[in-house]
C-alpha cells in the first residue's frame, strides 16, 4: 500500500507491504535507528515515538494506521550540540546505563511532562509504566524526568 507520513518534519511517501509496522518503516526504510525494538509483546516501550503528538508504541502501529500521521522520533527532538531538555536531564542525572531503553523513555517522558500538570515521584513512575529498563532500577530516570519537568 502507498502511505504518506511526516517524520521529524519531513514528508515521505512510501510503498510498503500492508503488514509493515511503523517501527520497521522508521528503522528499516528511513534508517532512523534510534527507535529500538525490545520485545514482541507491546510491553517494553523501547519503540515509543510520538504520533500526532502522543506517545505510542511504534511496534504496535500498522503502516496503514500511520498513513497521514505526523511522527516524531528521538532523532527529531534535539541534536548532539543542542540536546532536548529531557535528554539533557537524562545525562545530568545519569539516568541511563546501556541506553537501550533511553529513546523510548525520553519520548514517553516528554509526553508525560507536556500533558500532566502536577508531577511527583509516584505520577512519574505511573507514567513510565509502559517502559522497561533492565539496568538502572528507574531511580535516576524518575529523578531526570522530575528535573526536566521542573525546568519546563
Amino acid at each position: 500500500m502507498q502511505i504518506t507520513l511526516s517524520v521529524n518534519g519531513r514528508s515521505h511517501t512510501l510503498d510498503v507491504p500492508e503488514n509493515t509496522l511503523l517501527v520497521d518503516i522508521i528503522r528499516e526504510r528511513l534508517r532512523l535507528t534510534g527507535t529500538h525494538v525490545g520485545c514482541d509483546t507491546s510491553q517494553c516501550g523501547a519503540c515509543t515515538v510520538h504520533m500526532d503528538g502522543r506517545a505510542v508504541k511504534s511496534c504496535t502501529v500498522l503502516a496503514g494506521q500511520a498513513d497521514g500521521a505526523s511522527i516524531t522520533t528521538i532523532e527529531g527532538i534535539g541534536t548532539v550540540d543542542a540536546l532536548h531538555p529531557m535528554q539533557a536531564a537524562f545525562r545530568e542525572c545519569h539516568a541511563l546505563q546501556c541506553g537501550f531503553c533511553t529513546p523510548g523513555m525520553i519520548m514517553t517522558a516528554i509526553d508525560l511532562v507536556e500533558n500532566t500538570s502536577q508531577l511527583d515521584g509516584s505520577t512519574v513512575r505511573e507514567g513510565l509504566k509502559g517502559n522497561l529498563c533492565r539496568c538502572t532500577g528507574y531511580h535516576n530516570i524518575v529523578k531526570a524526568v522530575l528535573s526536566a519537568a521542573d525546568k519546563a
Binding site: 507491546s42 515509543t48 508504541k57 509526553d111 509504566k129 509502559g130
Partner: protein, 263 residues
C-alpha cells in the same frame, strides 16, 4: 506477521459490507490487543477492517442521565474527559488504570469491550453501571453482553458503535493489578444506581459479571459492615500462575470493600 489486507472504510455500513465479502476478516480498533495477538500468530485474519477512519465513531457526549462514549474513543480520552470526570469519576479513573500511557493513547473502548478479555477493566463498568452497548444492528444490555472467555453477544460482523453509561449516584472502581501487565487480577466497581447497589467484577471469572451476593448485602445497608462474611463462591473462577480461584474470590470481597470505602 502473516500477510493480510488492510481496509480503511469511511462508514459503518461500508465496514460491515467489506466484512461480509472477506474470507476471515477482523475489525481493527486501536490494535493494542489484535496486533500483538497477530504477531504471536494466535490470530491470522486475512483482512483487517480498520475502524479508525470511520466517521462518527469517537467522542463523548453527556445527555441528561447518560454518558455516550463512541466505540473508537481512546482510553486516554475517556481518562482525561472533563465530562466523564465530572459525571462518572469512577469511569475516568478506571480508564486511567488501563495498561500504560502508550496503550491508553491507542486502545479504544469498543475494542476492549468487544474482546471480553477476562482481565480487562471496562467490562466491570459495563455490568456495574448497566450500560447499553449500541451496535450497527441493535442495542444490547450490559447485563447480557459478556458471555464467556473472549465471547460476547456480538454476532459475526457486528460492530459496536457506542456505549451508553447511566450516571450513577456514586461509584468507585478498585483493581488489584497484575504488576507486570497491569491487567486486573480482580477489579470491582461498586455503584449506587436508582437507589440500588450494583457490583461489577472483572478478572475473577471467564468474563465480567455482577456479584449478586454483594449487591444483596449492600441493599440491606450500604456500608462495610454489611459486606462482612458475605460468601463469594469461587466455582468457575480463573486459576493461573498469578492467583488461584480461591484467592481471586477473596480479592473480590477485598476490592469491593475498598471501592465501597472510596465512594
Amino acid at each position: 506477521m502473516y500477510r493480510f489486507r488492510h481496509h480503511r472504510p469511511a462508514t459503518v455500513d461500508e465496514a460491515a459490507r467489506i466484512f461480509s465479502d472477506c474470507e476471515d476478516p477482523a475489525y481493527l480498533g486501536g490494535g493494542m490487543t489484535l496486533i500483538p495477538t497477530m504477531k504471536q500468530r494466535l490470530a491470522a485474519p486475512t483482512d483487517l477492517i480498520d475502524l479508525g477512519r470511520v466517521d462518527g465513531l469517537s467522542g463523548i457526549r453527556v445527555s441528561g442521565e447518560e454518558i455516550r462514549i463512541g466505540a473508537f474513543t481512546r482510553h486516554a480520552d475517556v481518562a482525561a474527559s472533563r465530562e466523564v470526570i465530572h459525571a462518572i469519576p469512577a469511569l475516568a479513573s478506571l480508564a486511567r488504570q488501563i495498561g500504560d500511557m502508550q496503550v491508553r493513547n491507542r486502545g479504544t473502548i469498543g475494542g476492549s469491550v468487544a474482546n471480553s478479555d477476562p482481565a480487562a477493566d471496562y467490562p466491570a463498568a459495563v455490568v456495574a453501571l448497566g450500560a447499553t452497548v449500541h451496535t450497527n444492528r441493535r442495542r444490547i444490555a450490559g447485563d447480557d453482553f459478556f458471555k464467556d472467555l473472549f465471547e460476547t453477544a456480538l454476532e459475526p460482523g457486528e460492530i459496536i458503535t457506542a456505549i451508553d453509561f447511566p450516571i450513577p449516584a456514586r461509584a468507585a472502581y478498585r483493581k488489584f493489578p497484575q504488576p507486570a501487565s497491569r491487567y486486573a487480577i480482580v477489579g470491582v466497581m461498586v455503584a449506587e444506581l436508582g437507589g440500588k447497589a450494583r457490583v461489577g467484577v472483572t478478572g475473577a471469572g471467564p468474563c465480567a459479571f455482577r456479584a449478586t451476593a454483594l449487591e444483596e448485602a449492600l441493599n440491606r445497608g450500604f456500608d462495610a459492615a454489611h459486606l462482612e462474611g458475605v460468601e463469594i463462591p469461587d466455582a468457575g473462577f480463573n486459576t493461573d500462575m498469578h492467583a488461584s480461584a480461591e484467592y481471586r474470590a477473596h480479592l473480590v470481597g477485598v476490592m469491593a470493600g475498598q471501592a465501597l470505602a472510596a465512594l
